[in-house]
Amino acid sequence: MLSFFSQLQSHEIWIMVIGALVCSSCGLIGCFLILRKLALMGDAISHAVLPGIVLAVMMTGSLSSWAVFIGAGIIGVLTPFLIDTLQRSGRVQEDASIGAVFTVLFAIGVIMVTSIPHVHIDVECVLYGEIVWTPYDRLIIGGSDFGPQAFWVTGTIFLLNLAFVTFFYKELKVCSFDSQLAAAMGFRPKLMHYLLMAVVSITTISSFESVGAIIVVGMFIAPGAAAYLLTDNLATMLALSVVGGILCSVGGYGLAILLGGGVSVSGSMATVAGILFVLSLFFSPKYGLVFRFLRRSRLRSRLQKEHFYIDIYRITEGENTWVPILDLQKINQRKKTFDLIQEMMLAGMLEKEEESVRLSEKGFLHAQKLIRAHRLWESYMHKLGLPEDHLHRSADDVEHFISPQLCQEMAKDLDYPRQDPHGKPIPLIEEKG
């Protein structure tokens, strides 16, 4: 890793810097697209701007001019407008109207490219760009070299996006989470929507030359989506997606070098973005699949154990005498019973002698607590009017989650009952101290 960085040449650093600028500007704006369920708007705009670009090239004759920005910018704002119009006519549903609009505009663009002889646009280049050449296109003013042109373009766009998000942070936040509230507060959600769309299209266009249209779509979504799984806080999400964008750029370039240097750098950036997303999908502390799975299996094994306490308690019913393991095997499976006995003996909750087991003092107290919660809940539900034969099932589910305070309150409310509705005794637990 260190050797990778120490061997970097200036053009490689430029590639990573430009990539990082593109990725993080997209990531920043992308967060709002994800939150507002507009993720595919980036996809739509990036395809739909093709006719705008071609038109601009036709008029000015070059792919790198302000006319391209303007032409693509107009179509970029026109696209969401067309989609909205089609959708609001109530005749075409949302996803279909997105799909119809951008594909048709793209088709028009392709026809324009192929049928107009003196326009030379490499559609492939527009679609998946080549960041590798950007360092060699220098910005030269008055004979002095100011670094790659793409750096200045993407840098400006990054600052613009940053300014947009900072300046309209409050408005964007309210509009994204509750557009009706925003309208009621006088924030003009519609205006914000189109402003956001304009920023999206400007960002898309500026990124064409460097990373290409389709990768831009990924950069709009992947860092934001990964960040969305990591946090519940908008500001944190924005910061994380910028960090994610930088990681995509550096990691992407690294991956491209690793694969021999001849592979598409922008493609590798998208690949790294995908890897980042998968990592956060699995390992996010709060929403990650791994931790959710662990939490669930931990809960499941806890419930299993608690049911086992209750089974033992029920057999001896308050006496805490020795219970033959055979009796327990009638209730649980054989193997599971042995596993549970092993586990609980290790925890010091169970004592074993020959073919019988007995709850230890600590284990017995725990069982008593559970049984007390179970039977108090049954009594309480009975008091609320649930018929006797419906009590057990719900109590079985709830017994694991009733806190001592709740038990106390229920007991008080029921005037400290001695028996549950089935006539079984409710164990009393002496509070220590």
Partner: protein, 439 residues
């Protein structure tokens, strides 16, 4: 340009290629129209977008593993990775808190990115020319070969066969999967099956029109067909027809008349049909709903004019008299010249007799005006008597419903109110038999 020659050429041996293109485009349009209908109804239209992009890594991997450029192998590779992409979208939506659109965009771009890495990796390792891979992305409808068309025919036939065979099941899956499950259908299996048919269609179409335009062929014909009918069978047939027609016209336009890429032309033709359908379809079409709205407005306007003349007549208890225009002009916000114009039109339709500066109702116009006033006052009476709404709040409401109520509803209302004589403001409610007319 010699059209006749071009057309003749089409039927000769040299026209073989063109015939292939035509057949391929028609079949493709047909199959994607059918499959797209289900995708549209299940709100999975854009899933096709994700699948189409996700095909790239599969194709590249297939080439890397086998080293062959066989369209059938490519198809298998594309299907596998396209299906994986679709599964990822469904999985991400189900197991994380991300929404469907985010999942689609994510899968689309990441798979495509991986595909480009693989594609450039193949190029870098110098494994011959990659024309096969590039056309897979951007389509080559104009140069379809006989074997390509043979693959397409087989696949499209297969798709249509399965749709016919599982029609009932797919219908239930699209409209009410829970109900289907309760009937004992394996919804999970059907879901996977239909999704794989969508994948198959997209992959077959990729060869002809390319990634983006294939998405269009799945979305646009069904969206157009949706405008014409509420029935699934008809929607499928119309959608297949529109798809096939777009395919045919696209192929013909692009090869015979102008030298243009077939795929985009096909899409534009389909879009043209969508536009037609949006405007001209009966019932759902924009033109029809505009007409309905306009005729309702017109009816309201006419009835308001007649009502105003009636009211002036009522005030003086003389409906026969010619009323000077300045007595009724206070009822309208429209300028006087417009009112004159409208009265002249009413004169032509024999609802009023209009001479410059004065007007009176004809017997037909009188009946219509009376009816409007009757509805108005009956509704006021209903709101005030039965609904306990204060007198001064009922007029606004009645002003709107008087133009809408049907005769049946009016007579039921009268029955319910026990044929009241007066409205809450004390004005008399005119009777159907016209007793209030003092002529």
């Amino acid at each position: 340009m010699d059209w006749k020659n071009e057309i003749l050429l089409f039927f000769t041996n040299e026209g073989m290629n063109r015939r292939m293109v035509l057949i391929g485009s028609i079949l493709l349009g047909c199959a994607s129209g059918i499959i797209g209908t289900f995708a549209l109804l299940r709100r999975q239209s854009l899933l096709g977008d994700a699948m189409a992009h996700a095909a790239l890594p599969g194709v590249c991997l297939m080439f890397l593993i086998t080293g062959l450029k066989d369209p059938f192998l490519f198809l298998i590779g594309a299907c596998i990775s396209g299906f994986t992409g679709a599964l990822c979208v469904i999985g991400i939506t189900r197991y994380s808190r991300l929404k469907n659109d985010t999942a689609i965009g994510l899968v689309l771009s990441v798979f495509f990115g991986v595909g480009i890495v693989l594609l450039t990796y193949i190029q870098q390792s110098g494994a011959g020319n990659q024309a096969g891979l590039n056309t897979f992305l951007f389509g080559k409808a104009a140069s379809l070969l006989q074997e390509d068309v043979r693959v397409m025919v087989t696949m499209c036939g297969l798709i249509i066969f399965f749709i016919v065979l599982f029609y009932k099941e797919f219908k239930i899956l699209s409209f009410d999967p829970n109900f289907g499950a309760s009937l004992g259908f394996s919804i999970k299996f059907l879901d996977v099956f239909l999704t794989s048919l969508v994948v198959l269609t997209v992959m077959v179409g990729l060869q002809a029109v390319g990634v983006v335009l294939m998405v269009a062929m799945i979305i646009i014909p069904p969206a157009a067909a949706r405008q014409w009918t509420e029935k699934l069978e008809r929607m499928i047939i119309i959608s297949a027809f529109i798809g096939a027609l777009s395919g045919a016209l696209g192929a013909i336009l692009s090869t015979l008349i102008i030298k243009m890429p077939t795929g985009p032309v096909m899409v534009l033709v389909a879009a043209f049909f969508l536009g037609l359908s949006l405007f001209f379809a009966p019932n759902r079409g924009l033109l029809f709903s505009w007409y309905r709205r306009w005729s309702q407005k017109r009816k309201t306007r006419i009835e308001n004019i007649l009502k105003a003349i009636y009211k002036v007549g009522e005030n003086s208890q003389n409906y026969e008299r010619f009323i000077p225009l300045n007595e009724i002009k206070g009822y309208f916000s429209a300028p006087l010249w417009l009112l004159r114009l409208r009265l002249r039109i009413l004169h032509l339709t024999a609802l009023v007799e209009y001479h410059p500066q004065e007007v009176r109702l004809t017997s037909v116009g009188f009946e219509q005006a009376k009816n409007t006033v009757r509805k108005h006052r009956l509704w006021e009476a209903y709101l005030s008597n039965a609904m306990d709404i204060p007198h001064d709040h009922v007029h606004r409401d009645a002003e709107e419903v008087e133009h809408i109520f049907s005769p049946e509803l009016t007579s039921r209302l009268e029955e319910y109110l026990d044929s009241p004589e007066h409205d809450p403001h004390g004005k008399s409610i005119p009777n159907v038999n016209g007793n209030n007319c003092n002529s």
